[in-house]
Amino acid sequence: MDLNPHAGENYAHPKTCLFHVIFKAAALAFYILFALFISNFVIIFVVTVLLAALDFWVVKNVSGRILVGLRWWNEINDLGESVWKFESLDQESLARMNKKDSWLFWWTLYLTAAAWIVLAIFSLIRLQADYLLVIGVCLTLSIANIVGFTKCRKDAKQKIQQFASQTIAAQVSSTIQSAIFSAV
């Protein structure tokens, strides 16, 4: 993953990219501006956490699917155990994904988490426990998405490798079979 977006390519899904960014930016902006100027904690809390929750949902269900072709969720199977499920597009579709889109996706995820961490440090220094609560919730949501998608991406790469080795094994065995057949 490099630092510069690929020049010459345009965003393939501009509306999705916009939504991906807008809720994050709105939550951060609202928090920073209102915490500085307005002292009504309840409104700040509710609006910021609501925006952060909406952003979590949008990233997990919409922009993750459309921009990078990944999806993760948790299920409880019949034995009562918790199972993490990962889903990804097949290899050709993944390779065809727009590079600019996925660059935007990953970098905004990381930057948002970093911004919340910085705000948390400010809150700690000023010893504001209630604002720390807000930041804690938003940070948890950002980190959950980062962890989920990273695991999903690793899982997708692993599946591709597995599929590749399976195909090779299948090829080898069918070659051997046809060799045996022709020898008889």
Partner: protein, 274 residues
């Protein structure tokens, strides 16, 4: 069988060749029949039909025919084809999975219907409930989030002074309380999933939410006490089956008492706010 051999084969090598041929024929015949099994659909839930979110895809390509199983006389090539990993997610096999390409509106509808069905399952009296321990198999945290925030808002609205502190305290109490109660059950040696339990405790706040709204509208102390007692009993009743089925029967009280205590303290908050 080659008929062009002029040299008669040795007894044992002829039988070897026969065996190899028969095994190959057997595997070729059984090959197409071993289609990848689809995951059986999850049992239908007793409420709103939800769009199936199974991630498994039927493979369009038949798998390579399984190799002959090892036999004493035939040194076989290793292993039958390995079973496909459960969430195969199309590494090149067939069509793209359903939930990855579904329209956004479908996702929204699916999540909304899940919230409603969870609410119905957990909170409303249902004598035909199949297995209370299995409630909230499809846990989600949206319901609890809305209920906790709503309760905080209702309490904050009713308070005449220190509104922000009331809200912060209510939210922190409920969120931390849910986490600690879950840890309590886990430490007692119970079998629950962390998020499932958080989800359940959040959904069980629904009756208290209703009680808080009623108390917000009418300020009579007697009425408040009655309403809070009723809704408290309802909440505890809703949480009971799940919590009690998760632990050892001798430790049921140890697991249930803190839940009851938390709901009682929330009830006191509702009554005492003015």
């Amino acid at each position: 069988m080659s008929h062009s051999d002029t040299v008669p084969l040795h007894q044992s090598s002829q039988s070897d060749i026969d065996e190899i041929e028969s095994l190959i024929n057997a595997s070729v015949q059984s090959g197409p029949a071993t289609v990848l099994p689809a995951r059986p659909p999850s049992p239908p839930r007793a409420s709103i039909p939800v769009v199936s979110s199974s991630p498994f895809i039927q493979s369009n390509l038949p798998p390579p025919p399984p190799l002959p199983s090892p036999n004493q006389k035939v040194p076989s090539v290793p292993a039958p084809a390995p079973p496909p990993p459960p969430s195969i997610g199309a590494s090149g096999f067939g069509p793209v999975p359903n939930t990855l390409t579904e329209p956004v509106w479908d996702t929204v509808k699916r999540d909304l219907s899940r919230i409603v069905s969870n609410l119905k399952l957990v909170v409303f009296p249902n004598p035909y409930r199949e297995d209370p321990g299995k409630a909230l198999r499809d846990w989600d945290l949206w319901g609890p989030f809305f209920f906790i925030v709503f309760l905080g808002l209702a309490l904050s609205w009713s308070a005449s002074v220190k509104k922000s502190e009331v809200f912060a305290v209510a939210f922190a109490l409920l969120a931390a309380g849910a986490v600690i109660l879950t840890l309590n059950v886990l430490l007692l040696g119970g079998h629950i999933i962390f998020f499932q339990s958080l989800s359940l405790l959040g959904y069980c706040l629904f009756p208290l939410d209703v009680g808080a709204v009623i108390c917000m509208l009418k300020d009579n102390v007697m009425l408040k006490v009655i309403v809070v007692s009723v809704t408290l009993a309802w909440s505890s009743w809703a949480a009971y089956p799940f919590m009690s089925s998760a632990v050892n029967p001798r430790r049921k009280a140890l697991a249930l008492y803190p839940v009851f205590l938390m709901y009682v303290s929330v009830g006191f908050l509702i009554i005492a706010i003015d």
